[in-house]
């Protein structure tokens, strides 16, 4: 329990730091937001009016504290370009990205677990070479290209699955799942390569340890040794990588979201940056940071489950 409380307390300074960084970053981007929002059609009067409306004429410190005050009461402000509460925009966009992240992770695991185990156990055989080669390919292929190929093969050529047309799960579960398969597949393939490489090397390390030899000497067969003893001990680096991967995916699926036309969280951030909708950018990045913190917390908790020594503060 103390472990969780400690971890939670640590997140507070992190979030404060993130809020300051987000706030200053957007003000450091060259180009006045009001000028960019108005574009070439700006007149001097409209420009001044917009600056006042956005509070850009106030000192930056005052702007920060008035923003933080609202954030603490749960108000992330109104989007400058869409004129709706930022919190609404985020809650509209986040479910799609969470679903995409889970789907991607599941695809990645389904491929990486068996491939990684086989590659490690059958080290230096054709199985190892083939899966390592495939993983290298998977990591090297650009995401957008793979996504495009997936669309051309599954939608344009064969018309098996839709390439766009996201609907929320709550509205139409079947259509939602159908629309999510291709994007999850396209990103999952790539992420599986990372996981598989990590699992393979981590397994190889453990496989040569004394306790494994002992287990084998006691007469355990290979399957039982690997699944029962080796895998668990090899999981820590894989869980770490998975945590980082999930945290990264939650804010970084922009390319997949834009190719498959999914109204996701990553696209919200990028589009808002381009539109200089800095109120939305600030809110979204803050939420994104919060998500990373939560995922990391979960990863830490999972460590404790996998290796109880960590909870006791002894292990690595």
């Amino acid at each position: 329990m103390m472990f969780i409380v400690k971890r939670l307390l640590l997140t507070i300074p992190i979030l404060i730091l993130v809020s300051i960084m987000t706030f200053s970053l957007i003000h450091m981007i060259p180009g006045d937001p009001a000028r960019v929002i108005l574009g070439q059609e700006a007149t001097p009067e409209a420009y001044q009016a917009l600056r006042t409306e956005l509070g850009l004429d106030k000192p930056i410190v005052e702007q920060y504290f008035s923003w933080m005050g609202k954030v603490l009461s749960g108000d992330l402000g109104m989007s400058i370009t869409d004129h709706v509460p930022v919190i609404d925009l985020i809650s509209q966009r986040l479910p799609a990205t969470i679903e995409l992240t889970i789907g991607t992770f599941v695809f990645a695991l389904v491929i990486a677990l068996p491939a990684g185990i086989l590659a490690a156990v059958r080290r230096n055989t054709w199985v190892d070479y083939t899966s390592s080669f495939a993983a290298l390919g998977g990591m090297s292929i650009p995401n957008f290209w793979l996504a495009m190929m997936v669309i051309i093969y599954f939608t344009v050529e064969n018309n098996w699955l839709p390439s766009s047309g996201y609907v929320p799960f709550s509205e139409d579960p079947k259509a939602n799942l159908m629309a999510m398969i291709l994007p999850c597949l396209a990103t999952g393939l790539r992420e599986s390569a990372v996981l598989m490489r990590m699992l393979r090397s981590s397994l190889l390390e453990v496989i040569n340890m004394d306790f494994v030899r002992t287990a084998k000497a006691k007469g355990l067969n290979e399957v039982k040794t690997v699944l029962g003893h080796v895998l668990r001990n090899a999981m820590i680096p894989v869980v770490t990588t998975s945590g980082l991967m999930i945290a990264g995916l939650l804010g970084g699926l922009v390319i997949t979201e834009s190719i498959f036309s999914i109204p996701g969280f990553g696209r919200l951030i990028v589009e808002s940056v381009f539109k200089r909708d800095y109120v939305t950018v600030q809110g979204a990045i803050l939420v994104s940071a919060l998500l990373v913190v939560v995922v990391n917390l979960l990863v830490d908790l999972l460590y404790a489950v996998i290796d109880p020594r960590i909870k006791a503060g002894k292990g690595a």
Binding site: V110, M235, I259
Partner: protein, 518 residues
């Protein structure tokens, strides 16, 4: 050492993955269920899906600043005037109109019996309300309508607009957002939130806007201008244009607003699709700052302007899907003529002579600011290579778009690449960019004779005479060379052959009132 709990966790993880995969496999196997069927439309409804490159932020023409807004707004709202496929201005909600001899008083007689989608009447009061709303403090349309002195409504179908001074492009302004008529009731009811509850007299009524994803409109059953054939129109956002093309090929969308140049052959080869490629009213080019060295020298400006091979630029950058330019007037414009829009082929002797006259016989260097998109970087590289052969050295400065706009305003540049999306009338494409002290005159061009001709052109009512004035203005500008026009943009629409009744209009708006889908 190994708890059974952990075993269960791992087992559940693996099992879960396998189940998920099996589930996905099942999805994949339902191949008999074609992809298109997953779209939200119930059977029997005629739904037209249009792919847009960006999410239109605002459905209120008064506050709209995004070009994408106009695509959707044109389906919700009718305008006082419209543009015909041959680029002419035609009355829309107006039945007929008169202009006083001094060009200051416009009398509009409105069409009768038209209702807004909320059931309220469209009449002279509604028009007056709209003009006044667009002249209000929060309006982004003020600049376009600022010459209005007063609006009167002698009866329910007559509107008299008095201008402070004659302004020939006034009617053309009313073919765009400033001429869109919103329901006064709705505007009053929703106030600042009206942009999320738009009501017009157009062929389609607003249903919903899921920000960043789609906008749905439904048929206006009481549309005044002929029966609307489609039941619904959905605008979907595809920020990746190549993905949009694949969605067009697979039938997920019926029309897309941009085909990337490299994908045009793919669309042309597909027998289910048509590629529509037409020059629109916009242009791209380079500001040469009249008040900054080296371009304080007119001969050096001319040397740069004459050294650019427009045909080659268009070929290299757009595979020919662009139109070489030497004026702001695209081939569809009333002011267009080949004499002023076709630049002479670069002649080394002429350029050498200009450099000598400009006091730099051995060539010179200058900095060109370009924004950081790949397309602009490519453009910069092409210009750099073109000028190199005449010993004109271009140093490319990549600047963020916002900074570039600011540098343009403050004159903090030697040369700067920035174009204009274009309007139907010549004036809004020209006046603010070249007349002394106007807001978009980034190059600080100041030629009294040019100012005089430009002011005459905006008050002249006779079209032929206006064209002569613009030709004269352009000749003066070619001498000054403060802005080097390089190409007119192309609209590149992809349209499914299932779509009938679609006609290209040079303002680049996809009009859906007459469109049907087989």
């Amino acid at each position: 050492m190994f708890s059974s709990k952990a075993h269960k966790l791992l087992a559940a993880l693996v099992l879960g993955s396998v189940v998920a995969l099996a589930g996905c496999g099942g999805g994949g196997q339902s191949a008999a269920d074609p992809a298109g069927n997953t779209q939200a439309a119930p059977a029997g409804k005629k739904v037209l899906n249009i792919g847009l490159k960006a999410d239109p932020p605002s459905m209120d023409p008064m506050v709209s600043t995004s070009l994408y807004d106009r695509q959707v707004q044109n389906s919700i709202y009718d305008k006082l005037f419209d543009i015909s496929p041959d680029g002419k201005i035609v009355p829309m909600l107006v039945n007929e109109y008169k202009v006083s001899e001094d060009g200051k008083i416009y009398t509009f007689t409105l069409k009768e019996g038209i209702k807004f989608q909320d059931g309220t009447d469209f009449n002279a009061e509604a028009v007056k309300f709209n003009f006044e709303r667009s002249l209000g403090e929060k309006s982004k349309r003020r600049g376009e309508l600022k010459l209005i002195e007063k609006v009167e409504t002698p009866d329910a179908k007559t509107v008299v607009v008095t201008l402070k001074s004659a302004f020939a492009p006034f009617i053309s302004v009313l073919t765009d957002r400033a001429g869109m008529m919103v329901s006064p009731e709705a505007a009053k009811k929703y106030g600042d939130d009206y942009l999320n509850h738009p009501v017009g007299t157009g062929p389609f009524a607003y249903v919903e806007h899921v920000k960043g994803d789609h906008i749905t409109l439904k048929k206006n059953p009481n549309y005044w201008n002929g029966e609307v054939k489609l039941d619904e129109v959905t605008y979907k956002v595809f920020t990746n244009t190549s993905a949009a093309v694949q969605n067009l090929r697979s039938g997920m969308v019926d029309i897309i607003d941009e085909i990337p140049v490299k994908e045009i052959p793919t669309v042309q080869k597909d027998e289910k699709l048509t590629a529509i490629t037409e020059a629109n009213m916009g242009y791209q080019g380079i500001y040469l700052n009249n008040t900054k060295e080296p371009f304080t020298n007119q001969y050096l400006r001319q040397a740069v302007d004459r050294a650019i091979d427009r045909e080659a630029v268009v070929k290299v950058l757009f595979d020919g899907y662009g139109s070489p330019a030497w004026s702001p007037f695209a081939p569809g414009s009333m002011a267009y003529s080949e004499a002023i829009d076709k630049a002479p082929k670069p002649d080394p002797a002429v350029i050498k002579d200009l450099l000598a006259k400009g006091g730099k016989p051995g060539g010179f260097s200058f900095k060109l600011q370009i924004s950081t998109t790949p397309a602009n970087e490519q453009f910069g590289a092409v210009i750099q290579n073109m000028l190199k052969q005449y010993n004109i050295n271009v140093e490319l400065e990549k600047v963020e778009y916002g900074t570039m706009l600011e540098n343009g305003d403050s004159g903090n540049f030697e040369a700067l690449q920035l174009g204009w999306s274009g309007r139907v009338d010549p004036d809004p494409n020209f006046y603010d960019f070249v007349v002394t002290d106007m807001p978009n005159n980034n190059a600080n061009i100041s030629v009294p004779e040019l100012d005089e001709v430009m002011n005459q052109a905006r008050t002249e009512q006779d079209e032929a005479k206006r064209k002569e004035l613009y030709t004269k203005a352009m000749e003066i500008l070619h001498e000054n060379a403060g802005y080097s026009y390089i190409y007119h943009n192309y609209d590149k629409f992809g349209v499914s052959k299932k779509v009938t009744g679609f006609t290209y209009v040079p303002d680049g708006i996809i009009r859906v009132a007459k469109v049907d889908k087989q």
